[in-house]
């Protein structure tokens, strides 16, 4: 007795309005400041994040440099703040790319069925069975060093998830009356997919946005740590951890620990919100 849930986004937001806000609060407490930082950091009175000054290198946290300076004298605090931009930007890009690849693929697989679905499903299974980090690495090697290529590589890695999600939503809808009616009135398959089917999958997709963002930030940081991510002078949390890594054993913890802390709070905030969104969707 499968009930085809045709939940609209409006319905989700109507459910338990006041409690919703309370439940999102923990995640938002961290995320909202981070987003604000990402948006407005150029207007903050910070030190120049790219200013190299070897005279003041390796200074511990102080009033002048809140998070200290790193191995070549760059101010860690301002770099961490500026890195917020890049990391958020890339993760948003990754999620958008993942959705734009995965959602149509899943919709096509679910709608047309038959051999198309089998082939697409096999591919999704195969791509999901690769360790995601290695997959990102190899695609990044193939595509090249720019930031866009990085985002595309990670987006490709995450897309199977969305393809599977959309397919599982579209498949039961295929035989409903209103889709049949759309077919009868002469709408093309493409129109049906984009005007009827994908909007039905939107609530589910949106509820997964933040989780995918968290995953992609993690991968970006990991790849940058290995040198495969954002090119070095640009401040990015992962690569900052990497530059400071060799000095921790000598007691200089601040160049690596603060970026990691920022990473932690971002990922944590995103995960919290994604959990709440997911439970709202499944209601």
């Amino acid at each position: 007795m499968a009930n085809i849930k045709n939940i609209k986004l409006a319905d989700i937001l109507k459910v338990r309005k006041s409690r919703t806000f309370l439940r999102l609060l923990p995640g938002l407490t961290f995320l909202i400041p981070l987003v604000l930082i990402a948006l407005f950091v150029p207007y903050f009175p910070l030190q120049d994040p790219m200013k190299v000054n070897t005279v003041i290198r390796h200074q511990p946290p102080s009033f002048e440099h809140f998070f200290g300076t790193d191995v070549i004298g760059m101010d860690v605090f301002s770099r961490v703040m500026y890195a917020t931009r890049i990391d958020f930007l890339i993760s948003i890009l990754c999620v958008l790319i993942a959705v734009s690849i995965g959602a149509p693929l899943g919709a096509v697989a679910g709608y047309f069925g038959g051999i198309l679905e089998t082939i697409t499903s096999r591919f999704i299974e195969i791509f999901q069975s690769f360790p995601i980090m290695l997959f990102a690495m190899i695609i990044r090697i193939v595509l090249g060093p720019s930031v866009i290529c990085l985002a595309v590589a990670i987006g490709i890695c995450i897309s199977p998830f969305y393809a599977k999600l959309v397919r599982s939503i579209v498949k039961p809808l295929r035989d409903t009356d209103y889709i049949q009616a759309a077919k009868v009135t002469g709408q093309t398959s493409l129109q049906i997919i984009f005007r009827h089917l994908i909007p039905n999958a939107l609530p589910a997709i949106v509820s997964q946005f933040t989780l995918s963002a968290a995953v992609s930030i993690r991968i970006v940081a990991g790849l940058s740590f290995l040198g495969l991510g954002v090119p070095t002078p640009t401040p990015e949390w992962g690569s900052m951890i990497q530059t400071g890594a060799g000095w921790v054993i000598f007691g200089m913890w601040w160049p690596s620990v603060f970026p990691g802390l920022a990473l932690f709070f971002t990922i944590w905030g995103l995960s919290q919100i994604s959990q709440e969104l997911e439970s709202m969707y499944t209601l």
């Binding site: 921790v248 990922i267 944590w268």
Partner: protein, 333 residues
């Protein structure tokens, strides 16, 4: 069951084919330094002869066939940095990674998996809430950052653990090579001092590695068991007065497929996540090898390692799938 096996085998072969294709494309896109090999004053004949020697003038599918044949013979290319065949380099460093990942897996099973089980059984009691909170926090921690923090506290501050310079202290003798795993080899040789030293060096990296997917495993185990405890069939088993022992057996048998799958994913993730941890702790495994190659723009080892690791991961995933289908008949549908 037979048909299911065939289908999964088919998917396995397809996956191996796809990964070999991807790595072939990667190798070709990285290119061969023909012009470097030829030198400054070159003639078109020299280029042609080198191309013919490397097989670069053949149609693409022939090149792919050659590549495939090479792989199956163990030829993963040659490292431009160490000048060794990649497979040789990997064989040298593999035991270190295996030691690390296996220890991490054991850590994880006895801490995180167990914690998940306990949290599910003691539902909503304080210990459940504590485990839940700790896991939720742990999931958001990035492993290479955690490793550095651990190094700072335990190596620099407390001197409890040795500094991350590899598997044994600087001048310690390496145990006689039987398996390549220092812990096992030193035990075989009866050398407890070296054994303890090897373990001492293993603890921090293995813990960090276990932490990468440990909290996630706890959450999945806990959620799976909680759901199972609420099912109708567990209620029926209770209703017929079955003893605790049998109830646990029923519960674990139903939980086995998702938990095994997560463990397989964990192992696969360990193999790849070991890259990050090995860098932080200067562990001489294949992960470090890959990163060193990367920094030297030496791409063949990386691709070789990725290929190897992906193959291992896919095979493990496949095996776990078969085991799950054995336990839970609904899988075979």
């Amino acid at each position: 069951m037979g048909i299911f096996l065939l289908k999964r085998l088919g998917t396995l072969l397809l996956a191996l084919f796809v990964i070999s294709l991807i790595s072939f494309v990667a190798v070709r896109s990285v290119g061969t330094p023909v012009y470097l090999m030829v030198g400054q004053d070159f003639t078109s004949e020299m280029v042609k002869s080198i191309n013919a020697r490397l097989g670069l003038d053949q149609p693409i599918y022939v090149q792919y066939a050659r590549y495939l044949r090479g792989i199956l013979n163990g030829d993963l290319g040659v490292s431009r940095f160490t000048y060794n065949p990649v497979i040789f380099d990997i064989a040298q460093r593999l035991p270190a990674t295996i030691e690390l990942t296996t220890t991490a897996l054991i850590f994880m099973i006895f801490s995180c998996l167990l914690a998940g089980v306990i949290a599910a059984l003691k539902e909503d009691k304080p210990i459940d809430k504590a485990i839940l909170f700790e896991s939720k926090v742990g999931v958001s921690v990035v492993e290479f950052w955690l490793g550095l923090i651990l190094i700072y506290f335990f190596c620099y501050r407390c001197h409890l653990f040795p500094s991350p310079m590899g598997r044994l202290s600087f001048l310690a003798p390496i145990p006689k090579h039987v398996t390549g795993l220092y812990t096992i080899d030193s035990l075989i040789a009866g050398d407890t001092k070296t054994f303890l030293m090897a373990v001492h060096h293993l603890i921090l990296p293995a813990f960090t590695l276990a932490f990468t997917i440990g909290p996630g495993t706890t959450l999945v185990t806990r959620a799976t068991l909680r759901n199972i405890l609420k099912t109708d069939y567990m209620r029926t088993a209770c209703a017929f007065g079955l003893p605790r022992r049998l109830l646990y057996k029923y519960m674990l048998r139903n939980a086995a497929p998702p938990i095994l799958t997560v463990l397989a994913l964990a192992f696969g993730y360990f193999i790849s996540g070991a890259v990050l941890v090995e860098v932080v702790f200067a562990w001489p495994g294949i992960g470090r090898y890959a990163v060193d190659a990367l920094q030297n723009s030496d791409y063949e080892p990386i691709i070789g390692i990725i290929l190897l690791v992906s193959v291992v991961y896919i095979v493990i995933y496949f095996l776990v799938d078969i085991i799950c289908a054995n336990i839970d008949p609904r899988y075979r549908l």
